[in-house]
């Protein structure tokens, strides 16, 4: 399994609907400087950079990471960009872990950044349709893009297929209550795009349908921002921890899976998100977790859509498949429940700065472990068409 690796520093920039004041260069500097400061380090002490940047079109350039190497102070060092759809950040963390665990580097910076709303639709004179169109280039280019493929309609395919199998689950009142709960949790995340955008379940229920079955207030919002982590191998991590006085968040489990993008026999099973199931159970095996609900204290799940969040929680084994509404109905994620779910407000209220999102989630999970003196956190990322990609990371504080 290689060397032990831990997270010793983390930071995020504010997630904003639009950063007129910064390009992705300075957003990268801001997150890097703050993450290094959190670890009590300077750029000199970092051996390698792992970039999580989802989409070249958002950044309006190919090889968007090349200017960053020097700008973040890592000239002449190793740099690798990861681009895995919505799961970009989670995969970037996984890659950094692997290199350090293999002994290639003592320390690494994981930097996610996305300038998601610079693109603009001149027909409706608004950004959102162009953001959706830009992501629309991610559908299968021969058989799907021109049918109006969007991230929302491809995830809706999975959700509706699940609802075909489990018609009594994912009740509208429950998805509305989860969205309202997340909006409440965002209140304490000063970096969240919608920190003070609290909604009631009624408002969620009455919000307009964007893509059936998703309502406007059940969908993550695209945002701009950066997030960074510093990872280190065991001895270095312990030394940094002594310096900063912050416990190391050890990465004890990782798992990933990418499904088939075409559906049918021996291919993608539409009613399942097998990628999330496999990623989580691979991570549990590595971390020695048999009962996730008992073992895990904080979950930061990638909530592209509330319905998908529920299915993901079932696939990851926190509730039975077909009974995901137990998250609310049995109070599992309600205040005082067994599980702290998306304390940052999730991507629905913090915002989805795609390449940075899962790294922001890891920042949040680590914060909660340290602040509340908890032991185990789980960070999840989902991406690509029909929730094809899944990546899960387990972190534990001593």
């Amino acid at each position: 399994m290689g060397k032990r690796v831990g997270i010793v520093g983390a930071a995020v920039t504010p997630f904003k609907a639009k950063w007129y004041e910064k390009t992705y260069y300075e957003l990268s500097q801001m997150a890097t400087a703050d993450a290094l400061a959190d670890a009590g380090m300077e750029p000199d002490e970092v051996d390698a950079a792992f970039y999580g940047i989802y989409n070249d079109i958002f950044q309006r350039t190919c090889i968007p990471e090349h200017p960053l190497q020097g700008i973040i102070g890592l000239q002449n060092k190793f740099g690798l960009r990861v681009s895995n759809g919505g799961a970009t950040g989670a995969y970037a963390m996984s890659a950094a872990h692997a290199y350090i665990a293999a002994g290639r580097f003592k320390t690494a910076l994981v930097l996610g950044v996305e300038k998601a709303t610079d693109c603009f639709d001149f027909m409706s004179m608004s950004a959102t349709p162009e953001v959706i169109k830009t992501i629309g280039w991610s559908g299968d280019s021969f058989y799907e893009q021109k049918l109006g493929w969007t991230a929302a309609d491809s995830y809706a395919e999975v959700v509706l297929a699940y609802m075909d199998e489990h018609p009594d689950d994912l009740k509208p009142e429950v998805t509305a209550e989860i969205s309202a709960l997340l909006s409440e949790q965002a209140r304490t995340n000063e970096y969240a795009q919608r920190q003070f955008d609290q909604v009631t379940p009624e408002e969620v229920l009455n919000s307009r349908t964007v893509v059936y079955p998703f309502k406007e207030l059940e969908i993550c919002v695209y945002t701009e921002g950066a997030a960074a982590l510093v990872m280190a191998e065991e001895e270095t991590a312990k030394e940094i921890s002594r310096r900063t006085g912050q416990p190391v968040a050890w990465i004890t489990g990782l798992g990933e899976a990418n499904e088939h993008s075409f559906a049918g026999k021996n291919h993608k099973i539409m009613s399942r998100i097998i990628s999330h199931h496999l990623a989580a159970h691979r991570a549990y095996e590595m971390a020695g977790i048999t009962d996730p609900l008992k073992a895990v204290d904080v979950v930061e799940v990638h909530d592209a859509f509330v319905h998908q969040l529920e299915i993901t929680m079932a696939e990851m084994g926190f509730v039975p498949r077909g009974q995901a509404d137990k998250l609310i109905e049995e109070g599992l994620i309600l205040p005082g429940g067994e599980l702290l779910l998306n304390p940052c407000g999730g991507l629905i209220y913090s915002g989805h700065a795609v390449g940075a999102s899962n790294i922001m989630s890891a920042w949040s999970a680590r914060n909660e472990l340290i602040k509340r003196k908890l032991k185990t956190g789980l960070v999840h990322g989902t991406g690509s068409t029909v929730a094809q990609y899944g990546a899960v990371m387990i972190m534990e504080c001593d």
Partner: protein
Amino acid sequence: MSKKVIPQEAIPDQGGFTVKIEGKEYLVMNDAMFTFYQRSMGEFSDFFLTLRDERKILGCRCTSCGIVRVPPFALRCPECNFAPTEIMEMADTGTMIATPPITYFANSLFQKQVPFGRGRILLKGADTALSINCYTTRGILVPGLINKGTEMKVIFQDERIGDITDIFCVPAAELTAEQLGKKGLLSSELDWERAVEPQLPDETGENKALFESALGELEALAAELNDCARARQDIADWQRVIQIKATGGSFILQIKGEQLAIKPGVEPHPDFTIVCPDLKVLLDGLGYRGSLTQAIMKRALWISKNSEFTTIFKLERMARSLARSKK
């Protein structure tokens, strides 16, 4: 003029502007990344040429395990150590593998098609499903019309270019036996006007009085909308004659010259028909107290043509504009 790959109105003028934040100016530039292609369809050429020229759908069958993939996206079977596959002609009917999503608010490239369904049809004899747009010939597409297992027929566009959009599908139950049996059925051979209007209860003194009162409110609201510059902008360059039928009476709603006009009577050839059992639903939608889209989805409002959702969308925008300008 031939159709361009990018709509003219999507292309911005050169230039920029500044945004002032906390006393400092930031420059914002109009810009584009554009790349044009002469993109080879390579091994998929047969599939697209056959769609275009022969109105047939091809799949491929693995010579080793026999799995039939549609579309033929892998011409060598990865399950069988890349054994070769054979191209075969598929049936043009099948079932939906799951309930298809319906897009109501699309990006600008697809706004004219909403609401549209996109799901996956498992053609008879196939093992994998083909992504396809789903429509109904009976008015607007609402949840519940097309579900998992619904039998569908693939329809071909009259004008085909060798693209996946050359085909779409409609529920087989909406077709005659003759249409169902015909191979390569064209869009123009379908009866798009055959939408079955919901029946309204007979006119009574009581419901007529309710209708008249709601109509009065609607006329007042229309006058308010016509006075609102922002709302007028939402129907700029739009012309429609809409027959509206409600319990207790009917009338004509005309959109013309940035004005809504309400006229009594029946129009012999309206652009489309709206049936609302309770006229209050339309009134609430235009008054921004409810959503017309949601009303259509819940079948509290019925429109005769799917393509006229654009008009509904414009009416909703007017409602929102009036509400916002009142704030």
